[in-house]
């Protein structure tokens, strides 16, 4: 699902999200900012696509079928590229235990989706990509 339109350069984000409305909105909003988006609807797909395409930023939901976001993160950290990859957890879990686990695996940000509107989320992603 890589977006090959912008082979000219620009940043690429892997967006793993099983809630399809959210995936669609986020994906469209990022594309509107000229960011390439790779979409994944479950954890396994997210891992495979990340390893294959080395995006500039991996955005993971936590609750996903097949592999949850934290497991994907753990697996990524074992990979040569993945161990230093930029990872952001974007979820609706507001659970300190899970946040702790995420930071242990060097996740750079942890955002609770429903606390932000789409514009703010896009802004934060752009900051992470040094685009703003």
């Amino acid at each position: 699902m890589a977006d090959n339109q912008s082979a000219l350069g620009g940043k690429t984000v892997l967006l793993a999200e099983d809630e399809l409305t959210t995936l669609k909105v986020m994906s469209s909003s990022l594309k509107a900012e000229n960011i390439n988006v790779i979409e994944a609807v479950d954890g396994q797909q997210a891992y495979d696509l990340a390893i294959a395409q080395h995006p500039d930023l991996v955005i993971l939901d936590i609750q996903m079928p097949k592999l949850d976001g934290l497991t994907v993160l753990e697996k990524l950290r074992l990979d040569d590229w993945g161990k230093n990859a930029e990872v952001m957890l974007l979820t609706n879990y507001n659970d300190s235990e899970k946040i702790l686990l995420a930071f242990r695996q060097k996740a750079f940000s942890y955002l609770v989706k429903s606390e932000y509107d789409t514009e703010t989320l896009v802004k934060k992603i752009k900051e992470k990509l040094n685009l703003s």
Partner: protein, 582 residues
Amino acid sequence: MLDIILIFICSGLLIIGLYFYIKNYQYKNTIHSQKKENEQKVYELSVLKELGERIGYSLNIEKISDIISGSLHQFIDYSAVSYMLLTPKNIKFKIYLESSVSRKFVEDVRNRMLHSLSALLNRKYESNQVDETITGSLVLDDSDDQVNSFFNIPLVINDKVVGVFTVAHTKSGHFQEKEMTILYKITQQASRAVARLQDVVANEQFKLNSMVESMSEGVLMTDNNLHLLVANPAVKRIIGYERNQIVTIFDFFERLKNSLDIKSKLEESIKLKKINYLAEVIINQKYYEVFISPVKSSKETDKILGGVVIFRDISQSKELEKMRNDFTSMLVHELRSPLDGIKKMAKFMQKEGSVKTSEDLHEYLNLIHNSSTNMLQLVNNLLEVAKIESGKFEINATKNDVRKIIQTKIDFYTPAALEKNNTFKFIFDSDISKEIFFDANGINRVLENFISNALKFTREYKDIEIAAFLHKYGQDLIQEGNKLNIHWFLPTAEKQRVIIDDCLVVAVTDYGKGIEPEKIEKLFNKFVQLQANLATPEKIGTGLGLVIAKGIVEAHYGVIGVSSKLEQGTTFYFTIPLIIKK
């Protein structure tokens, strides 16, 4: 002549008077001695009673013996009274001197007693085992009194000789049966009191011991110096010992060192007379509630006898609590995610330029529709579970044709089955009368749940077997199934499948991977199911289907169950009694 007559009369009178006088005197004497005897008896009784009270609830035989020898002079006149008692360490000899006697006299009494004790117990006791105490008057070295009369009364408690009493006098022939009877009576009474008390104590101790032994809570008790007095099997198990193994307090210090500092907690409790409560202590991955308390003397509440530690296993309630918390946070997540998505989608669509074509519009609306449908299904299922749990789930039983209902479901699922190259095999017992009372909607949902699950799990090119038959009162369900050639996974060995009342049995069997035993017991648990479902690849539905199915079947007074063999397959079944109580 008159004189003679007069004298005669006077003499007669005198004689008569004398006679009466003597008679009267004798009579008076008898009365007096009877009175004295009565007084003596009353006195004896009152002293015995007082003795009884003083002995009271004492179990200390030495103390009792002291009381007896201290009161005996009220009844008997003697030079010395003494007792000799067997103790675990030695033989206790104590002599009260009523008057001063020679050393030889004491020696004599002592030897006679030792001899008597040896004879009573048929054992040889040596003089050097005796611990001697002399009280009362002084021992005079220059006197040469001898024991000229004496008697022994053994002290017997619960048919066991524990010692002997001796009363001795320097005068010879001094004691008669009367004196012996008195001492005998007293020792008898003391012995009975002690025996009774010992029984009570032993009985209580036995009760207490068996109670502590059988307690599921771990109990350990120490004295003030932390010497271990009691450690019941449960507490041994907690630190990983077998019930018959011998443990010391150091085993507890060592094995619990990563969980709690039991030594200082006990010391603190004993020293400060304070109860310590620890709400959550983890020992070998299990959770315990721990109470550490001083043991107070029942008589003197200020006196501390030691410390007690009680461990209560709270792992199960802890696990349940964690399950509930997980369930709640999962639920919040599952409702928040689609809501947030829908909200963001609506906002996104309002933005100029986001909806360019009618295909775009169609796609976005479709996403919103699907999201809200899933969420609604979850909410509906949760409401249903809540209804079932609160007992407000009602069934509407009407006459229904089972065969038709099952066949309709099979027809509905056949296209999906064909995609995986599965076929349905339907075994229907012709004994089933056309119409049975049940709630058609409810049973339809149970069937949907069973069949869609079977479809999910059965292997390619395999059957899904659906069987319906009547179970007869007193028959073995397995045999009934065998007669119909049902290939299910109900355990054959057990006799438990004899369901009492006549009922309809419906079983759906898949030939898939089977279910692990530890997962089987959680299949009908809502807390686990919602969570487990989210982790499955398909994430179809809410995972609450079986929880609801169970509620529906049980509302019919039926039974729902599952049996599985790993790598072979799984059978889900339910029963509906033929007579439904309304």
